[in-house]
């Protein structure tokens, strides 16, 4: 297992370096003056522009620029806003909101996705299976943009109007965990569908394995064959998929947070984009990409814990 962990760690480093280089290249290496571009339609004070040029070392060669950027990053420096507030300071407090949202989504995803997937797999080819697959098709196809607004309207507003049920707050995070239910589901929507399909495929494939036939030949009940022998194997890819999804959910929270007016990292990002505060956008995206890479790394290590074939490699 030691070798596996070391190999994964060594693989994550060049990916993280490469990703930051890519972000850097996408923003700063494009033709034209990045400062003017970052400022967008705003007219920029030449003094501010010069200060920014200085800050991003734009007069230095590209590789040296990257070196400054990456060393800053290692010290937790995500850059500063036009008004010279560190981006990292901007994110304090907002991180908690995004984490809450992402975990709510993850729990909903795990419970609903694995539940539906197992149900479909055990009813493979029957009406239930077809119905569940149709639901996943819908969940995958309807964009977050649409489910967000529609559920906000239906569950947040109409439910209150027609039935007097005021359970789902439509905006803000003022109602504790309930505030996260609706946005959490919206954020998880597509992931629920993929996890359902993955669960179904995983269990169907596992049930076809030779060791399942062996378990049956041992005289075990179908319940035990599925519940112990098949599930333990089928769950391995699901747990890792779920873990990796945490990073995806955090990165994808931008639209959900914007629709439900949750004051998290995503909404800050949307605002900065709207205000055309380029450096902040770069800083936040870099941060989210790092979270994503770390989440993937943790998942890879988790994989080794779950699968003895890798543990004792």
């Amino acid at each position: 297992m030691g070798r596996y962990v070391i190999r994964r760690l060594l693989q994550a480093i060049p990916v993280a370096l490469g990703a930051t280089l890519l972000i850097f290249a996408l923003v700063f290496a494009l033709p034209g003056d990045p400062i003017t571009a970052l400022a967008g339609e705003k007219r920029m004070d030449p003094a501010v522009a010069d200060a920014l040029r200085e800050q991003y070392h734009l007069n230095d060669p590209l590789l040296l620029q990257y070196w400054y950027y990456i060393t800053g990053l290692l010290q937790g420096d995500l850059g500063t806003t036009f008004s010279r507030v560190p981006v990292s300071q901007l994110l304090v407090g907002k991180f908690q909101v995004t984490i809450n949202l992402a975990f709510t989504a993850l729990i909903l995803e795990g419970v609903i996705g694995i539940g539906l997937g197992l149900w479909a797999a055990l009813r493979k080819g029957k009406a239930t299976d077809t119905a569940i697959l149709a639901v996943t098709l819908l969940l995958i196809s309807v964009p977050v943009l649409v489910t967000g607004f529609v559920l906000q309207l239906v569950l947040g507003v109409q439910l209150k109007k027609s039935l007097g049920i005021d359970f789902f707050p439509v905006a803000g995070a003022f109602e504790g965990w309930r505030s996260y239910l609706l946005p959490g589901f919206v954020l998880a929507g597509t992931s629920i569908a993929y996890l359902t399909r993955l669960t179904r495929t995983s269990l169907v494939e596992t049930l076809r394995a030779d060791y399942i036939r062996t378990a049956t030949a041992k005289g075990l009940t179908r319940r035990r064959v599925i519940g112990r022998h098949a599930l333990r194997n089928a769950l391995i890819p699901l747990v890792t998929y779920l873990g990796a999804d945490l990073g995806t959910l955090m990165g994808g929270a931008i639209i959900t947070e914007s629709i439900f007016n949750l004051n998290g990292i995503g909404q800050q990002l949307a605002q900065s984009v709207y205000l055309r505060e380029g450096p902040v956008v770069v800083g936040i995206v870099t941060f989210l990409v790092m979270v994503y890479i770390v989440a993937n790394l943790i998942v890879d290590l988790l994989y080794a814990v779950l699968d003895p074939r890798i543990r004792y490699e």
Binding site: D210, Y211, A215, G219, H229, N233, R309
Partner: protein, 345 residues
């Protein structure tokens, strides 16, 4: 109250001159996209306690499907058993409830599979998997079951069993894995053991060790052993009698030494002649011409006729019944006399 295997069927007595296990006119078919595949068409054989029956045939001959039908581990659907009986101690297993069959499976009739790596669950230790038999069927504690697992691993001669009981299947060599499979199958002293190509995936030297182990375990426990194989060379030393299968049917039933001396079916003869022999060194090795039959599109008459050197017109027009040659021997060939004589017709 939990049913035990003994409640379902009596353990002793009632046998008299009856065989321990008798397959009678078994038919198995599979519904596929391309149509109905008749995998087993009227197979009958029987097995007595302490006896070893070798079931010989190419892949697709129905030998494994028959074994899975005995175990009751066919997926139904797509499989279906339209006809036939499988009598274990006189009781037709096919007429029992699923619950009752689960009590026989593993405890009274056990099975080992060809590829032990894929047949063992990769995420549980071998000790857990062997011990599961005792925990589930005998209600033993985890600790006692583990102890029994170590004993069994010793019995199948796995070195350092006490340590290795905590290892996972992929940490063992192919031969050791097959020994674990065997340990698991004999855990509850079954009366019948079905070994489906137990040595096919192994090296030749390891093959011999595994066969020796099986023979030894059988002598100790007096269980009936069904040895499924495509390799006639494997069975010579261990089997008492042979059932040769082709295209879902038995084409020859005989005592092992009879077949070796003089086969009564052209297919058995072909199999025998394709084994390399020391005394015939230098001779060209014989190979059966043609391909195994397509189960979706069986040739008319005798299924073997397109590949048969003895073929006459009636082999295409009429299907040969299983001719009784003597009390222990039968052949499904119109020309079994010619085959026995060794003259090519």
């Amino acid at each position: 109250m939990k049913k035990t295997a003994a409640d379902v069927l009596p353990t002793e007595g009632g046998l008299g001159n009856e065989p321990l296990l008798a397959v009678d006119d078994l038919h198995v078919e599979f519904t596929t996209r391309q149509g109905v595949v008749k995998a087993v068409n009227g197979v009958s054989y029987d097995l007595r306690a302490g006896e070893t029956l070798a079931v010989l045939g190419e892949s697709g001959s129905g030998k494994s499907v028959t074994a899975q039908a005995i175990m009751g581990i066919l997926d139904m659907p797509p499989a279906r058993i339209p006809k036939g009986a499988i009598r274990f101690r006189g009781t037709d297993l096919l007429k029992l409830s699923e619950e009752a069959r689960a009590q026989i499976r593993g405890q009274r009739v056990a099975m080992i599979f060809q590829d032990a790596l894929s047949a063992l669950n990769p995420v549980f230790t071998v000790g857990w998997q062997i011990g599961e038999m005792f925990r589930v069927h005998r209600g033993m504690s985890r600790k006692d079951a583990q102890k029994r697992a170590v004993e069994l691993m010793d019995r199948v001669r796995i070195p350092a069993a006490r340590q290795r009981v905590h290892d996972f299947p992929h940490q063992f060599s192919g031969g050791m894995r097959q020994r674990i499979m065997i340990a698991m199958s004999i855990a509850l002293d079954p009366e019948v053991l079905i070994a489906d190509e137990p040595t096919t995936a192994l090296d030749v030297t390891v093959q011999a060790q595994i066969m020796e182990l099986l023979a030894e375990l059988q002598r100790e426990s007096n269980m009936g052993l069904i040895l499924i194989t495509h390799d006639l060379g494997v069975v010579a030393d261990v089997a008492d009698k042979i059932a040769v299968m082709y295209g879902g049917r038995i084409v020859e039933n005989a005592q092992v030494h009879d077949v070796y001396r003089a086969p009564a079916h052209p297919y058995s003869k072909g199999l025998l002649e394709s084994i390399p022999r020391v005394d015939l060194k230098g001779h060209e090795l014989y190979a059966i011409k043609g391909l195994p039959p397509n189960l979706l599109d069986m040739p008319p008459g005798c299924a073997f006729n397109p590949r048969c050197p003895y073929r006459q017109d009636n082999c295409v027009s009429s299907e040969p019944p299983l001719y009784e040659i003597n009390s222990t021997r039968s052949s499904a060939c119109h020309y079994w006399r010619e085959v026995l004589d060794g003259s090519h017709g």
